[in-house]
């Protein structure tokens, strides 16, 4: 019993250390968004000038909105297409199913660098071209397998008898899906959606190859800034984003349990 307590205590301490490691650069990022020096120079001198100039920086703001929009659309498309595909793979038996499932892995397993460059070559060649539409096309393809894998994992815990029970009670396929299956896989769908959002929103590599000037996303802008000339406006926008994400996540946490209830 005492050992259990000690282990629990050590566990908490460990998590605390991990959180410190994870948040150290984030805190620095946030602090530097309020520091006068654009070169992260100390001593720290308080300013909100970077937020003010962020407000003026149309290009950065546009890129941020592009990122948000693309991430949201990607999430919606992935959740819909991915859930449908997961359901089909779960419900039906047919030849070639194993192959289709195996096909989900290359997009996850292939380095983004390769996928991104391949998309660049192909989109360029067939006239899809580059720009926001290409980025969206790419992001959905990247995130889709994550959603299918996560939702399928959730479906593994779904008892097929539930669908059968519903049908035995007279529900048609659509009623079964809407009223029984979807509610059950919801945590998986939400987890998949969060994944898709993250893959898209923080997607730098693929966007980098598919962006065109004027049609870029935040990570691409940030990379350009880091490589070509950095301003703490980047810190400011990142700080705003993490604060908003944190709020959204905590809100989400209230409504469902990540990884399913036990």
């Amino acid at each position: 019993m005492a050992t259990t307590r000690i282990l629990e205590w050590l566990g908490r301490l460990y998590i605390l250390l991990l959180l410190a490691f994870l948040y150290l650069p984030i805190i620095i990022m946030a602090l530097m968004s309020f520091n006068v020096s654009p070169f992260y120079q100390l001593p720290f001198e308080w300013t909100t000038e970077w937020y003010a100039s962020l407000w003026q920086n149309d290009q950065l703001i546009a890129a941020t909105w592009n990122s948000v929009e693309i991430a949201v659309i990607t999430t919606v498309i992935c959740v819909v297409l991915g859930s449908a595909a997961s359901l089909a793979l779960y419900r039906y038996e047919f030849r070639g199913k194993k192959f289709l499932q195996a096909l989900l892995f290359p997009p996850i397993a292939i380095p983004w660098l390769i996928t991104g460059t391949a998309m660049l070559i192909f989109f360029f060649g067939v006239g899809i071209g580059r720009g926001l539409h290409a980025i969206l096309l790419g992001h959905v393809a990247l995130a889709l397998p994550y959603v299918i894998v996560v939702v399928s994992a959730r479906l593994q815990t779904f008892a097929p008898e539930l669908e059968e029970a519903a049908r035995s009670l007279g529900a048609n396929q659509w009623q079964v899906t809407r009223r029984v299956t979807l509610p059950w896989i919801m945590p998986g769908v939400i987890a998949g959606g969060l994944f898709a959002f993250a893959v898209s929103f923080d997607q730098f590599v693929v966007s980098y190859f598919l962006a065109t000037p004027g049609q870029t996303t935040l990570p691409v802008e940030i990379y350009a800034a880091i490589r070509k000339g950095f301003t703490p406006e980047i810190n400011a926008v990142s700080t705003i984003i993490i604060v908003v994400s944190m709020a959204l996540m905590l809100l989400t946490a209230r409504f469902f349990k990540f990884g399913g209830e036990k």
Binding site: G11, Y14, I15, L19, F21, Y23, P25, I26, I28, M29, A84, A88, Y90, R91, Y92, E93, F94, G96, L100, F105, P106, I108, A109, I110, P111, W112, L113, I114, T115, T117, A118, M119, I121, F122, G125, L137, G138, V140, A141, L142, L144, I148, A153, P160, E163, E164, R167, L194, A198, D202, F209, L218, P219, S238, I241, S245, M249, A253, K257, G259
Partner: protein
């Protein structure tokens, strides 16, 4: 078990649900990859306006210059080391979250751990400079605590690249391991101990094998992008920051030698797939 809730050949029913997702993947992933294979056998891009022909030269370039092999090995090593560190750091955290902490705080802490996921990776990497450089946070903090003077300057070094990458990717490991660990029934742990196994033995023989799918999935999700990474090494690596990924990036972005870039990418892809194929029986055995 796959439920046959409908008649037995389900392809016709499955098709409308599957088609959109797979069409999308075809257009945006499978065709581009095929195109890349194609390009990698060309002398010039057709759209460059210059005459082009088929060649094996781009692949030959890989083998004729030791440079590429050296860099590929360096990148594989980097991927391996980062993955290992992520396991070492992330797995215990996932374990504590899934099995030690109880109650309401757990979900919140879990979300806190994976939250950095949703913040920008590049900025986080960039912020590490502040910590790692001489006169940075780490240096200052350690010198404030230690009685003697030491010089901590990790910036622009291989360890800096490792730290930055581990920081970026450890949440993946926590996430995938947490999901599998949480699914392990506590009664299995109890069963193990009732049979005389100590906590450590239960961990080794029951918990780790059962969470293997999460570990392997996490490892793949980390290893793969790290092997191809170019941004983090460039920012944190300094003069040691040249890797296989940076060379590929150069071919596409700077040098404009897409065929060579494609060939190099495809070689990396082949190597990664071989490695995953070797690892996949482990996955299957654990599942």
């Amino acid at each position: 078990m796959a439920a046959a809730t409908a008649s037995r050949n389900g392809l016709r029913s499955a098709l409308p649900l599957l088609a959109p997702a797979y069409l999308w993947l075809t257009v945006a992933i499978f065709l581009p990859l095929s195109a890349m294979v194609f390009f990698s056998f060309m002398t010039e891009l057709p759209l460059s306006g210059k005459p082009w022909a088929f060649t094996l030269g781009n692949y030959a370039a890989f083998f004729s210059q030791s440079l590429y092999l050296t860099l590929l090995l360096a990148s594989l090593r980097l991927g391996l080391e980062v993955t290992l560190w992520c396991v070492v750091i992330g797995y215990p955290a996932a374990y504590v979250l899934a099995k030690v902490l109880k109650g309401r705080s757990r979900e919140a802490i879990f979300l806190l751990v994976i939250l950095p996921f949703w913040s920008n990776g590049l900025v986080r990497i960039f912020s590490w400079a502040m910590v790692l450089r001489e006169g940075g946070i780490l240096d200052t903090a350690l010198n404030a605590m230690l009685p003697f003077k030491i010089n901590i300057d990790l910036m622009y070094s291989y360890p800096a690249v490792i730290i930055g990458l581990v920081h970026s990717y450890v949440p993946y490991m926590v996430l995938t391991c947490y999901l599998t660990l949480q699914a392990i029934d506590d009664s299995l742990i109890e069963a193990g101990r009732s049979l005389g196994a100590s906590r450590l033995q239960v961990l080794k023989r029951v918990i780790i094998p059962l969470s293997m799918p999460g570990l392997v999935a996490g490892a793949a999700l980390i290893f793969v992008p790290v092997v191809g990474s170019f941004m983090e090494p460039r920012i944190l690596g300094g003069r040691t920051g040249t890797f296989y990924g940076t060379v590929i990036e150069d071919q596409f972005v700077a040098v404009f030698n897409w065929p060579l870039g494609a060939a190099l990418s495809f070689i990396l892809l082949a190597v990664v797939l071989v490695i995953l194929a070797i690892a996949s029986p482990v996955l299957r055995r654990a599942a």
